[in-house]
């Protein structure tokens, strides 16, 4: 596409290649501004973000700029645009965008694909619809105001005559693009697709095994690469004996990767790569390498030692990040202090598809095919590591066999690109499961200590909470030893409890591995500690868990975090649009308790646990029921979830995200990554436990709040409340309080 096509006045026009109607639109998040590319400005600020191409046969081609990893974003984006056009679902075609700033942000994480794009997608669709109406009206000699889009046609409301989109595309393509102020998206009441349970457009291909993921890419003359990476961060090969590896039939090259320097960023970890004509040969070659590794200070890293240090840090307290009243003084003056320490280990995202990227570097140009959540980052990283201009790099996005934050990091595209450049041949770099478990960007290990005091009625008077965990920032800068504000706001800074004396602190923690994002990130351990401790306070006060939780939350209100000295960026969205609103939190608690028959079931001696958490601007309350046998083995007969995520695009997929998010939370309670002498102990699914079908709740019931509030996050919010709801249920059943994860397979009373 030429610059001219994207210029402000003519960015909707027929293109020579398709002869169709092309429309490129952008809206900056939260603003109703049509900001098409303008030649006078820099590409960073002026990038069309969505591209609709109505072909001469009437097919509506929709370019999806977000990565598909199971959340059905490709379907959701099509639903939004189809509604504005009143398109025939059968005549819609979804194209996956390459990584390009012209689309605006493409980083598919942070549960923001819908909330940051729904408005601009509606405007994009409505603009296309208006131009089609104008084209039909022109032909009929009437006003466009008399015309409506109706099932892939434009209809004259007065005469009832209709014309198919296909017939008017050539005329529509010649019209000037209406100013965005003149474009009005459809009223909510007219939606046919948005808010419904539309099946995924990729479903037919999935059930017949016809989908293509990063691991599935196959190019002519392609080599497959496997890398043996250093067991300890920043160590390097002291000696490499590759004599046996070279003898493996099919092995073509053995290449020492550049050593990793601090900080890790998205750079290759180093090690030795084996390139072969096929996967098995590369794997066998890698296995046959004999490498002696150097040692460094991280070689002293022992999980148990670090665990103790982290717990000591949380218990010692730290820098105050939010303060109301005087919690330390209230606690110091009390006779009876309630306190508890919570610990949660490192975790690996472990998507079913381990990372993979294919690179074809030819001269100063590179093409990448990768299962990436962040194609623009892959593009800029590959350009950087190869030393070529970014516009010379094309990043094609395959389907992702799960992402969960792991595939936001473009390190594997970097590795593939370096290798392809080296051998002048296309290279598919695959991560084996062992690589994924042992060399990841881990969800942080954490320790938290909470102290509280209650009055004689059981009311909580003071709450002092210190969180300590190695920061994701340590992956990006040297010497970082405390969490960033961006991590603390993940369920810690925004504690919703109405307690007169509250003090929140952050402790010190050093990292010995690369730390990264995992679905809902720090919300997982913060919700675990906060909602476990809320339940401990209820037990201490001898009150019902639900009633006590509601009393902690207090009245429905908008929380003003700034007034308590807290730095809070609200997931990058305006606080006016998405306030921290406890009335919505209370609402999902009431709804989930109704759904689960909380009072009735408790009378029947069934064991329930409750937690409710706001994250990614959505509110989720979860109730888990457990059964515990005499020998301590346990299972989950039922889980109930109520979610308020504002406006919903696809009810069926929101439901699926709630189910999957809960089970992902369960996995987070079962798994543990640990280290000995700096090397990760676990290696595959036999020693890194994830939820299997027999662990999953027998039934999950999901309640979606019917809301017209702005669309908020869905992919991550169902995960954080699951663990405390489960551990609170275990306490209800057994009296055993789980403060350290992972969960035991049997609860010892």
């Amino acid at each position: 596409m030429s610059q001219d096509t994207l210029s402000r006045r003519s960015f909707l026009k027929a293109t020579a290649s398709t002869g169709g109607l092309s429309l490129a639109v952008t809206l900056l998040p939260g603003k109703h501004v049509f900001a098409a590319q303008d030649n006078s400005s820099t590409p960073e600020t002026l990038t069309p973000s969505v591209f609709i191409d109505v072909a001469v046969d009437g097919t509506v081609n929709i370019t999806c700029h977000r990565s598909e990893m199971g959340q059905q974003v490709r379907t959701a984006i099509a639903q939004i645009i189809a509604d504005e056009l009143d398109a025939d679902w059968q005549r819609i075609n979804v194209i996956q965008a390459t990584g390009d700033k012209k689309y605006g942000d493409q980083n598919t994480d942070g549960s923001r694909s819908i909330r940051r794009n729904i408005d601009r997608l509606q405007i994009a669709g409505a603009t296309a619809a208006l131009m089609l109406r104008q084209a039909a009206a022109k032909g009929w000699g009437i006003s466009a105001d008399d015309c409506v889009c109706d099932q892939h046609t434009v209809r004259d409301q007065n005469s009832g005559k209709k014309i198919d989109f296909a017939a008017i595309v050539p005329v529509a393509a010649t019209l000037p693009v209406p100013e965005p102020e003149t474009v009005t998206p459809k009223a909510r009441s007219a939606w046919k697709f948005v808010g419904k349970g539309v099946a995924s457009i990729d479903l037919p291909a999935v059930v017949k095994g016809a989908t293509v993921y990063g691991q599935d890419v196959q190019l002519d003359n392609m080599l497959v690469a496997v890398i043996v990476r250093p067991p300890v961060l920043y160590t390097t090969p002291v000696s490499v004996d590759d004599s046996k590896a070279k003898q493996v039939p099919g092995v073509k090259h053995i290449i020492t990767m550049p050593a990793l320097t601090e900080p890790p960023l998205f750079k290759p970890l180093g090690g030795v790569a084996v390139l072969a004509t096929h996967t098995w040969a590369a794997m066998q070659g890698a296995k046959a390498l004999v490498i002696e590794w150097s040692k460094n200070e991280h070689s002293q890293y022992q999980f148990e030692t670090e665990k103790a240090a982290l717990i000591a840090s949380a218990q010692a307290g730290g820098e105050i990040i939010r303060k109301k009243g005087d919690a330390p003084a209230t606690i110091a003056a009390a006779d009876d202090i309630i306190e508890a320490t919570y610990f949660a280990p490192l975790l690996a995202q472990a998507p079913m598809e381990p990372p993979a990227a294919t690179a074809n570097v030819v001269g100063d140009k590179a093409e990448i095919w990768a299962c990436t959540q962040h194609p623009q980052s892959a593009r800029s990283n590959v350009a950087g590591i190869l030393g070529i201009p970014e516009e010379n790099v094309t990043v094609n996005v395959t389907l992702l066999g799960g992402g969960f934050g792991r595939k936001s990091k473009p390190d594997y595209s970097n590795e593939a690109a370096l290798l392809s450049q080296q051998v002048n041949q296309p290279v598919k770099l695959i991560w084996r499961r062992e690589d994924d478990i042992q060399h990841g960007y881990y969800h942080s290990v954490s320790a938290q200590h909470i102290k509280a005091v209650q009055d004689s009625s059981g009311k909580t008077l003071a709450w002092q909470h210190c969180t300590a965990f190695p920061s994701i920032s340590s992956t990006f800068a040297k010497g970082v030893t405390t969490p960033s504000a961006g991590e603390l706001r993940l369920g810690f800074t925004d504690n919703p409890f109405a307690i007169e004396n509250m003090q929140l602190e952050k402790g010190e923690a050093v990292s010995h591995v690369r730390i990264g994002w995992l679905r809902s990130v720090c919300n997982i351990f913060h919700a675990f500690a906060i909602h476990s401790f809320a339940d401990e306070l209820a037990a201490k006060a001898q009150q019902d868990s639900k009633a006590y939780l509601l009393s902690l939350i207090g009245p429905g209100r908008i929380i003003d975090l700034a007034s308590e000295g807290a730095e809070y960026d609200n997931y990058g969205d305006p606080i006016e649009k998405f306030p921290v609103d406890t009335s919505r939190l209370i609402n999902v608690i009431e709804r989930v308790c109704k759904l689960a028959n909380w009072d009735e079931r408790k009378k029947q001696k069934r064991f329930l646990g409750l937690a409710a958490h706001r994250s990614f601007l959505s509110y989720v309350a979860t109730i888990v029921e457990v059964e515990v046998d005499d020998d301590g083995s346990w299972r989950i007969p039922a889980t109930y979830i109520s979610i308020d995520a504002g406006t919903i695009v696809n009810t069926e997929h929101v439901k699926a995200q709630c189910e999957g998010g809960a089970i992902y939370g369960l996995s987070c309670a079962l798994g543990q990554i640990s280290a000995q002498d700096g090397a990760i102990t676990q290696s595959n699914f036999h020693n890194y436990q994830v939820a299997r079908i027999q662990h999953a709740p027998q039934d999950i019931t999901v309640d979606i709040v019917d809301s017209e509030a702005p669309a908020a996050g869905v992919g991550e919010p169902p995960t954080p409340p699951f663990i405390p709801a489960l551990t609170n249920a275990i306490f209800a059943a057994t009296g055993v309080r789980i403060r350290t994860l992972p969960l035991p397979s049997q609860i010892k009373r």
Partner: protein, 150 residues
């Protein structure tokens, strides 16, 4: 060495230790069968060998001589096996990566046990990991397909 895959006969003369998975994926370019762990721990690579659900990632080619193999691509001529239909109706897949293996495992279960109980489903499917958490829907889809069989 001769094997029959989805009704078609293939010759193989390479490394007899190479697992079937890589013959399918790299040599035949049949990518519906997935790599997930390489140790028979996750089930993403499940195929049928003489009708039995088998992890192709650990099955050496030497053990497949003369065998009849079915992959997801050959489960049904028109891709309308009762499980493929119920899978779609129950909207089971999320990312989809493990789903070929899940469907192949479930198909072998139903072939032997047309109306499995919840416990039997869990026991039979416990080797197939899904990180998206589609398990409750997998149970429903299997039961639905079982119902349509009987």
């Amino acid at each position: 060495m001769k094997i029959t895959i989805n009704g078609k006969e293939h010759q193989f003369n390479g490394d007899p230790q190479m697992p079937l998975l890589w013959f399918l994926r790299d040599e035949l370019n049949m990518k519906g069968t997935k790599y997930g762990c390489g140790m028979a721990l996750c089930g993403a690579c499940t195929v049928h060998i003489n009708g039995e659900a088998t992890r192709s990632c650990v099955l050496p080619m030497s053990a497949t001589d003369g065998m009849t193999i079915t992959t997801i691509e050959g489960l049904d001529d028109t891709d309308s096996h009762p499980l493929q239909i119920s899978w779609a109706e129950e909207n089971v897949p999320q990312c989809g990566y493990c789903q070929s293996g899940q469907i192949m495992q479930a198909a072998s279960l139903l072939a032997k046990n047309p109306s499995p109980t919840d416990l039997e489903i869990d026991q039979n499917m416990s080797g197939n990991i899904c990180r998206c958490g589609t398990y409750p829907r997998i149970r429903k889809a299997i039961k639905k397909a079982a119902g349509s069989n009987s």
